[in-house]
Homo-oligomer: 263 residues x 2
């Protein structure tokens, strides 16, 4: 179970925090680290010092340019967030996150990403809206900003407790044999791109005046946890709608399989 | 409740860890920090950098020479320990610790110390045997040594969760109105000193061949959580025993009230 939990750090500024994160992960039995557009050299003497023997995780980390790439294959993406937002998003506690993990990861192809933002500014709204849910570590309201590696430590600790309690074979897995695979993050993003293009085509959505339309549709869709099959149906509907809206255009070769490419 | 939880760091080597501890504490609403014989200058640029705004806790920290002094007024002393010992001690999980705190701190005069050892060697056996219980943060057996500030972070997080769940008025407090005050750590240590001296006097105990006798008696006594009144009775018994064992000696002026002094 723990090997299918990925820690994603976005725009980290301090190598020491990357080292501290690696140590916290390895301490709790996590190994999959992804760095999105780090704002520092990830592997420095500070990294190795704070990693205290866990720098192999930094060597093995994947460094990518966007959150998309880091979580493309994940079925559940949870962002660590301190702030309450103008558009409320499903918010869970670290403990509730831990309790959800065994069933999440028992689903076919299940993979979970825990996403942590920049030391100074956290996650952007766009990044937060790419998450199924936000997790908030309870803190002193007068001093709420946790050190990055400390925040990873707390969530990794909850992951380990959940794993210890439920082991590799949660009770729910037996009932899940006929469950369909959930859509991956990448498939969902292809869908949202397709959806937005279609809404523009039918004159329902003006990107110059977005009014949180896409954010609301994202929230709704992510809350439903679509299966891949369901997403294919939705994309079929969008393709047909697009054809009606722009009958003069040739088919764009839109694919519903979720492969990267035309959109 | 949180203001009656003390974090005690013994023999810390790295100022950064003291700063990181202060930040973790302040994030979780803890404020009472004690440093026992630090092996570094506690307040350096590293401390302030890692404290990230919480260095007031380090300024306010009490620095003392011994664990005794740091926890003298505490009714429950819990040591963070990674190792299993030759003499097994009551061992609790961080979560179970959190669950115990509200009732512990609702008791008259209740005060809890969470004790953390050296970065390189943890707590000594003598220090561990001064604790009522040991708390073990579950870790990857292949990489079990947590960063000091990260360990404080996890336990402080459990303290905060317990406080959030139970608030300041646990249900048990109403039933506890007629409860006797528990013995403080200092009173217990006076008792153990008195007990050992008495056991030597009666020829039952040879400090040159201790065979864990005192450790076993400590474990037994601490498990019982003696009230102050009970300890006074036990000390009265010891005083009388001593008089019988050494009838030639004048009274040592032994006091049963638990004040520091003759022993």
């Amino acid at each position: 179970m723990l090997e299918r939990i990925r820690i994603v750090l976005i725009g980290t500024s301090h190598p020491g925090n990357i080292g501290g994160t690696a140590r916290a992960m390895h301490n709790m039995g996590l190994a999959d680290l992804a760095l999105v557009a780090p704002r520092c050299e990830p592997l420095t003497a500070d990294t190795v010092s704070r990693a205290s023997g866990a720098d192999a995780l930094v060597h093995a980390a994947r460094t990518v340019e966007t959150l998309e790439e880091a979580v493309a294959d994940c079925t559940l993406v949870v962002g660590a967030s301190a702030r309450s937002r103008t558009l409320p998003w499903p918010m869970i506690t670290p403990r509730a996150l831990g309790e959800r993990l065994p069933e999440e990861l028992a689903a076919p192809g299940g993979r979970v990403a825990l996403v942590f933002g920049r030391e100074d500014s956290g996650l952007t709204n766009a990044e937060l809206q790419r998450c199924h849910a936000h997790v908030h570590i309870p803190t002193n309201p007068d001093f709420s900003s946790l050190n990055l590696a400390a925040a990873v430590q707390v969530l990794a600790y909850e992951c380990r407790l959940a794993w210890m309690e439920h082991g590799e074979t949660p009770a729910a897995s037996a009932e899940k044999d006929d469950a369909q695979p959930l859509a991956s993050h990448e498939e969902l993003e292809h869908y949202f791109t397709h959806l937005e293009r279609t809404l523009i085509a039918i004159g329902f959505h003006d990107p110059a005046q977005p009014r949180q339309l896409m954010a609301r549709l994202r929230r709704f869709t992510l809350r439903a946890r679509p299966e891949r099959m369901e997403l294919n149906i939705l994309r079929g509907i969008l393709s047909n709608t697009e054809k009606l809206a722009r009958p003069e255009q040739p088919s764009t070769g839109e694919r519903a399989s979720g492969e990267p490419g035309s959109d």
